[in-house]
Symmetry: C2
Subunit: 232 residues, 2 copies
């Protein structure tokens, strides 16, 4: 945080509204007091008095912390700290019509990074039943219907994320999905990758992680080539 | 979203408070009207009337959208839609004392996935000046001071993220950093990886991406082994 002083000796206020400031003070308070999930907060009246702000402003700021999932209200115990749903608020803003073009592009790259990087977790945790589930998805792969093709693409890669056993990763991926339709439109032509979903399943069965990694790179090659042609 | 009906024929309300409900309705409104950054919103009074809620409740819900960076207030134009800072609210909740243990573990894995997966972007965008910057960081690598070692670790991997040119990825990484101290403590002993930072820079210079990927895997091997030993 900036501690630059203006010519009059004032420190600039980081927040842009009184509610922003109160929100910031509340979050600082939680951190300084090292409060953890399950701990109780002072009452609204006590906090409002301590900060010297109106109940309305305080309620707005508390409402933000409620949305973030940091606090909740419990009968008889008042406000209590909770484990936040870390991806909850990210989910609310990840909508194609809201996000700017550069961020959309960044997120598309992020998806490629995740798919290229998750091979180790995948090989660590894959079981026979997962291979059978992948087989089923791949069986439907030869459809020539484009919208079906996209559904199948999501089902296949979604299953890979699921197999990693990492709930946060899996949920992150499903949140990123709606953004890709939008980005894929900027890739002018659909190139069929040399390594298909069926090939990738074969490579997993074979059990050689390095070969699988190269296979995944080839599978994603059309997107990687499209990126390389964009001047960032 | 669930559309299950209860025995009396009511649809359950997804939101848990009136403010949650108003927030949801506002976000649905933006999506249905396909509003984009720069578009104006109706006035507070008009929205409060249309929803049949008090100005106080509406203000709480609007304050949440302000925090998400979806709306802002402009002189003479009233409330206007903006491009949200997608990682802004995630940053507010990613604090070690707030996040539950499973999520912390997931996020630590996510970091490994990112580091293993970003080689393609790295090789696509690395320039001579970046190699020189990496050399400088590596030169300080032989310190035996443990806290310096962590700083150097952050500097080296942070630089790799920076070189990918992906701002969202870079910022995401710097947000994840404070959580790792905490997770690293669960890895009982510090194992020196066979492939050092200096080796990784050599591999980048050599220009063979497959060798670099294997090198990065070896570099992260102690963490990967620690994961494999944890029953998820």
């Amino acid at each position: 945080m900036s501690t630059k002083e203006t010519s009059m000796g004032f420190k600039p206020i980081e927040a842009t509204s009184l509610t922003d400031l109160v929100e910031l003070k509340l979050r600082d308070f939680l951190q300084e007091k090292k409060l953890k999930a399950g701990d109780s907060l002072p009452t609204e009246m006590e906090i409002a008095e301590a900060l010297g702000v109106s109940r309305n402003i305080l309620r707005e700021a508390l409402s933000r912390l409620r949305m973030l999932g940091i606090i909740t209200s419990k009968k008889k115990r008042g406000m209590v700290l909770t484990h936040p749903d870390v991806l909850g608020s990210l989910e609310k803003v990840l909508q194609p019509q809201l996000v700017d073009k550069n961020t959309l592009h960044d997120i598309f790259e992020l998806r490629l990074v995740l798919e290229l990087g998750m091979a180790d977790l995948l090989f660590m945790r894959i079981e026979e039943k997962h291979l059978e589930e992948l087989d089923k998805i791949v069986k439907n792969d030869d459809s020539t219907n484009p919208s079906f093709r996209i559904k199948n693409e999501i089902a296949f890669h979604g299953k890979l994320y699921e197999i990693t056993g990492n709930q946060t990763l899996k949920r992150f991926q499903s949140m990123l999905m709606p953004l890709f339709d939008f980005v894929l439109k900027t890739e002018k032509r659909v190139v069929t990758p040399k390594v298909s979903h069926a090939n990738l399943v074969e490579l997993i069965r074979k059990g050689n992680i390095d070969e699988f990694k190269k296979g995944m790179e080839e599978h994603l090659r059309p997107h990687l080539d499209a990126l390389a042609n964009i001047n960032k």
